[in-house]
């Protein structure tokens, strides 16, 4: 029996695992103490819970607990890493290298840095969504103080070659920051093996609660420092003031523990379902996979169905299936996805894209139903698409003088 609606938008957010909720509950009521209250049992209890969670979070990424700074999420961690390094290393230089498919939390922070007198190089990704390592190397200047490349992309699920990137950075002594929001908990991420010096991630993409995340900051080989962006009581070793969100942090810790324990099994299960979905949808005529086929998260696929528009397509089944689209018609700005455009996709293909994000609670029945619904709707909408008719009649769409809006 299928329960509706089916959730296939796990790159946007994930439900809390019930085990995570169970772990959190006591910290709202009986164990409500402030982790900074050093002088009574309420505080000690909260502090102990935070210590355990810090260890759980650190274990998932191969870090030391002292290297974890709790934040309100990945957006804040992105801000703290980039602005914090920019301020801390101002005497060393002002140049940051990033890429053009980063999340807005990174791109807009870099824009801010530019206004403050910083210089930013936005590497263009190749058409598979990965950066060109030679271009990265060539972009390095004597004034480069940070290389900021996301671990995995939120729209197309491509996974960047972090080891190779950090090897290049290490040679020049430049710290590497990675927004690993989409990767942590889904694929093995190890800050030492991957050579990452700063890393942002968030609980709500890995079956934890919303509003809590972390910045990993390397303490040894080399020691990296960031200037605090939120001043106050000096929490988190002065790098992020504010009373700790104890229930959220406990939930984050539990979520990390579950991901670590179940990753191997879960990856095998979910990637099989993803492959089934992807293969079936790519059977549809004129459908195209966006992003690299190999370097990819196990639970995501992004496909363009040429000659149908993404929002119109979603409307065919969005009462029952939740996915997302890179189409302009779904965005307030009426611009198609900048990530898809960065892959060199024409606007027409960007408008026609759907992202499917599978998760821990996705079943094979749900995938079978999704395949059926998407295929039916694509066919139905093509029957009413003037572009599909032209394509079928062999009319060159570039020969038409479109009345531009």
């Amino acid at each position: 029996m299928l329960n509706f609606p089916i959730y296939l938008d796990h790159n946007a957010t994930t439900p809390c695992d019930p085990r995570v909720v169970d772990a959190m509950v006591p910290y709202f009521t009986s164990a409500f103490g402030n982790a900074a209250s050093r002088n009574h049992p309420f505080g000690w209890q909260a502090e102990e819970a935070v210590d355990i969670a810090r260890q759980q979070v650190a274990s998932l990424i191969g870090a030391d607990p002292k290297e974890i700074i709790f934040t309100s999420g990945a957006t804040e961690a992105d801000n703290l890493a980039i602005k914090g390094v920019f301020e801390m290393y101002a005497t060393k230089g002002n140049h940051i290298i990033t890429c053009n498919i980063e999340h807005k939390a990174v791109l807009d922070t870099c824009k801010h840095i530019e206004k403050e007198g910083g210089e930013v190089t936005y590497l263009k990704v190749m058409d598979n969504g990965l950066i060109d390592l030679a271009e990265l190397e060539a972009a390095i200047r004597p004034t480069t103080i940070l290389i900021a490349i996301m671990y995995a992309n939120n729209e197309i699920g491509t996974v960047m070659p972090m080891k190779e990137i950090s090897a290049i950075a290490r040679k020049k002594g430049i710290p590497v920051f990675s927004d690993a929001t989409q990767a942590v908990g889904k694929i093995p991420v190890d800050v030492n093996k991957d050579g990452i010096d700063l890393m942002a991630f968030t609980a709500h993409k890995m079956y934890g609660p919303k509003g809590v995340g972390a910045l990993y900051v390397r303490r040894k080989n080399p020691r990296v420092k960031v200037t605090a962006q939120i001043d106050g009581g000096g929490h988190e070793r002065g790098m992020r003031s504010g009373t700790l969100n104890v229930p959220g942090i406990v939930g984050f810790g539990k979520a990390c523990e579950i991901c670590l324990n179940e990753m191997e099994e879960e990856t095998a299960r979910v990637s099989k379902l993803r492959d089934k979905l992807q293969n079936a949808l790519l059977q549809i005529e004129e459908s195209y996979l966006n992003g690299d086929k190999e370097y990819k998260l196990p639970h995501v696929t992004n496909i363009s169905f040429k000659y149908v528009e993404g929002e119109g397509l979603m409307m065919g089944f969005n009462k029952n299936i939740a996915v997302s689209s890179g189409s302009a018609c779904t965005s307030a700005s009426l611009e198609p996805s900048y990530v898809l455009k960065a892959l060199g996709l024409g606007d027409d293909l960007a408008h026609s894209s759907l992202r499917f994000g599978l998760g821990r609670f996705t079943t094979e029945d749900q995938i079978d139903y999704t395949i059926e619904q998407v295929t039916q709707t694509v066919n139905k909408l093509r029957d009413m698409s003037p572009l599909w008719e032209m394509y079928k009649e062999g009319i060159d769409m570039n020969s038409i003088e479109w009345a531009h809006h």
Binding site: E309, E311, G316, C329, S385, W388, H405
Partner: protein
């Protein structure tokens, strides 16, 4: 964003999807929008030469649900109207009928533009001067 029942019905059971023979003297075709904008609408009318009334209207649309529903509704409204009446169909009437949210108003503008383009195509084919329209405001 949740849509009105009427809109959803036009999307799910669109009226008058199809193609008329664009080479026929009494068929007017309007093709508006552009693939890179994410919306293309083709609207066609067939006119009875004796009465000047629109006897059939067909559409095909590449676009969001609101664009599909707007064109479906437009074809319904066109049937039985005279060619001159057709151009008085205002996009705001479509907005009202389908209860389109503000971000989707341009989808109804597209339908209005498609009607005007179809009428002008018909007029041109039949030796009548093309009508001049003010540029639609909401694009």
């Amino acid at each position: 964003m949740s849509y009105s029942e009427k809109l959803i019905d036009h999307y799910q059971n669109p009226k008058n999807v199809g193609t008329l023979d664009k080479n026929k003297q009494n068929v007017g075709t309007g093709l508006v929008g552009a693939p890179e904008c994410g919306d293309v609408m083709r609207l066609q009318i067939e006119v009875d030469d004796a009465t000047g009334l629109i006897t059939d209207a067909k559409f095909k649309t590449f676009g969001c649900g609101s664009a599909i529903a707007s064109s479906s509704l437009a074809t319904e409204w066109l049937k039985g109207k005279s060619v001159n009446e057709a151009v008085t169909i205002d996009n705001m009437a479509i907005v009202e009928e389908l209860n389109l949210p503000p971000v989707k108003i341009h989808c109804s503008v597209l339908a209005e533009d498609a009607i005007k383009a179809a009428v002008n195509d018909y007029r041109k084919k039949n030796g009548l001067p093309e009508l001049k329209f003010e540029e639609s405001v909401v694009h």
